[in-house]
Symmetry: C2
Subunit: 412 residues, 2 copies
């Protein structure tokens, strides 16, 4: 008998039929003797419908406090429906809004952070044999105002409840059956990972973000809540995301290949190489609310240096304008850019203890004649920027080079 | 500067456009210096949509507690939209659910009764110059469970808030511009009443129920909250419903003519006239959950009596069956019934101090050769049952006889 928190997203509860399927699934776990807390999102489409209504009365700028009052109704409908569906199946159940639980957050409407969870009510219900159905994505501030955690925040609610209740596992049900070594649409031999560490999952963000909210992974890592990604309507063990590195020591050095074609590259050339120049370049970019991903500064020659960074493609034009101004102010030579780039990363905690991982990566790319434009490394990740058209080729080459390909099945 | 509670029903807030119109109206009152608390219902159709969803997962028998969690989201959406629309117009506003206010109710889910309202938060907001927008129809019980007051309960919320805040007036905005002397579709000369007493309003139920929830009128009477019925989107003073009889002394003796064609009549003839016989007849009817309206027992002759009562037409057949059994048990002569009847009532506090009101009514009907089948009187109402086909003729004759007709306009 374990205490399990299960989170079902908008698609998993998108229709009455699906809510009934979720109820059947929860019932099975309950019959196995587990104590279950279920966290649900709004039925898919509902949050957008509510936001659209809010925009109509607000000239597209809804008051954040009132927007939270509105959109929090989305999950409130789902918790009631799921509780009803469970009770109809003979499973005692009770629903709670974020306010009723009480999930205390700060007052940052539309993007609140959880401060504290009162677990007493939930523990009493579990002790009485009830399944507890909690609205994800929402809470209440100290003044009693309804808050929301921002879109996708239901994952965070699940993890926070699992942490507060010291649950054995937080299961995140999605439309995929786990985390893969890379995108199976690009590499058909991609394999589902049995286990992955929180750090790896974070570094796999460009793949993983389709599966899990990054913030919830950070949260799970911080409180050491074992996370499991599973398919809502298929059987299978999914992928377990845990803190424990040792358990994954027998895993391959590299856990997966992440990639991203949403970025663009900007270079300011011939910048005087003086202290503070990096800040002078990135300060105005940051002030313009543009997020920067990779940053590379080459060693200087002739007392000038080249400074390159990547931004989201949507921000490319405004970043270029900002950079042109900076270039004039600093007396730099020129600003050049490229949007036809892609970023490919190898990720794995195993590389910490294995030398030569980066060179093996570069070798695999060289074999395919793929030129590397930028390199950036962290303890458990090596990322390169390449020409966009080579993306799929590069991912497949790396997937094979690091022995991630699934064994060929008969007939393959 | 007065404190006014304004209640807008589902049709008045049925679309984004209408919510914007309501915001404009509230803004005008605010600009006149009044303190405003607005109570709103769910957008029309929303409550039914939610109930339908609940039925789908519950084999048509939703768990009452969870149904309240669901349907309460209807008003929660409206309060946020109206608050947004007000703020967009430069009117400081804040929305509260029943739980946030806190409107404390008993735990009778789906038909809860208000026990207490915490007015402190509202008073602070009003003092700070904010319009307070409150969700009608909902509250919270002592355990923090969401409750609803039953359909149409938003009127009651308005009256209860007005009572708690000692508001100058509770304005109920509807799709009619006031309470009329009778249904204008039957009598084109029907006039809007400037004022009417709570008692009269209750007795006018068959007309008034289309305008106001009867329970809210009782509530308003009990706490002496002046109620005003107004049209949501037309200008005009509406009809004021108050306790004070003296103010209406100058009014006509009769305030209005109510009528009802939803009833059917049942008579048990030749019942032994012994003590307890009325209970023996009506007990089984009540036990079958059939509501009885008029009851008339004639004086006995030959130690037997005739006992007649009216029920809703939908209950006619089941009432007849129950009565046949009773008839056999009591050894009565026969059971006869008629569904082609109508009830017509004259209502007015003025009749208390004026003799001859009933005879004037009977005279007017006699002049039109309308036979009276049953008569029932209260302090401020005389009701008669007549053949259904004479209904309109009777209402018009009485409207004229009691001088309620509007002065003929030129061209009429």
């Amino acid at each position: 008998m374990a205490l399990i928190v299960q989170k079902f997203g908008g698609t998993s509860v998108g229709t009455v039929e699906r809510i009934q399927q979720v109820a059947e699934k929860v019932k099975k776990f309950r019959e196995n003797g587990d104590d279950i807390v279920v966290v649900v999102s709004a039925m898919s489409g509902e949050t957008n419908r509510l936001i659209d209504l809010a925009r109509q009365v607000s000239d597209d700028q809804p008051v954040p406090r009132e927007l939270d009052v509105m959109v929090s109704t989305g999950e409130q409908v789902t918790i009631a429906l799921l509780a009803m569906a469970l009770i109809k199946r003979g499973v005692p159940a009770v629903s709670y809004t974020g306010n009723q639980v009480r999930i205390l957050t700060d007052s940052a409407h539309n993007k609140a952070r959880i401060l504290q969870i009162d677990d007493q009510k939930l523990r009493n219900d579990l002790k009485a044999g009830r399944v507890v159905v909690v609205a994800g994505f929402q809470g209440v501030d100290e003044h009693g105002n309804i808050t929301t955690l921002g879109r996708g925040g239901s994952d965070t609610t699940g993890v926070a409840l699992a942490a507060a209740l010291k649950a054995a596992e937080c299961q995140i049900y999605t439309d995929v059956d786990g985390v893969y070594t890379t995108d199976p649409r690009v590499v058909p031999q991609a394999q589902r990972l049995e286990k992955i560490t929180f750090e790896e999952m974070l570094e796999m963000a460009s793949l993983g973000s389709k599966v899990l909210q990054i913030r919830s992974v950070e949260f799970a890592g911080k409180y050491n809540v074992p996370l499991r990604v599973l398919h809502s309507f298929q059987e299978g063990p999914g992928t377990l995301i845990t803190l424990d590195e040792e358990e994954t020591m027998e895993q391959p050095i590299i856990s997966g290949i992440a990639f991203n074609r949403d970025e663009a590259k900007l270079t300011i050339r011939g910048v005087p190489d003086i202290p503070g120049v990096a800040f002078k370049i990135l300060g105005p970019i940051s002030a313009a609310n543009i997020e920067v991903d990779m940053i590379v500064q080459n060693v200087s020659h002739d007392n000038t240096t080249d400074f390159t960074f990547t931004v989201h493609r949507n921000d490319y034009q405004s970043a270029q304008q900002v950079l042109e101004n900076t270039s004039r102010e600093l007396g730099a030579r020129e600003v050049v850019g490229d949007i036809k780039i892609a970023k490919v990363s190898i990720v794995g905690v195993g590389m910490r203890s294995h030398a030569g991982v980066a060179s093996r990566m570069f070798e695999a790319l060289a074999k395919e004649n793929i030129n590397i434009q930028m390199i950036s490394t962290s303890e458990i990740k090596v990322s390169v920027v390449i020409e966009e058209k080579y993306l799929e080729l590069a991912v497949r080459a790396l997937h094979t080079a690091f022995e991630l390909d699934a064994p060929a099945r008969q007939g393959d």
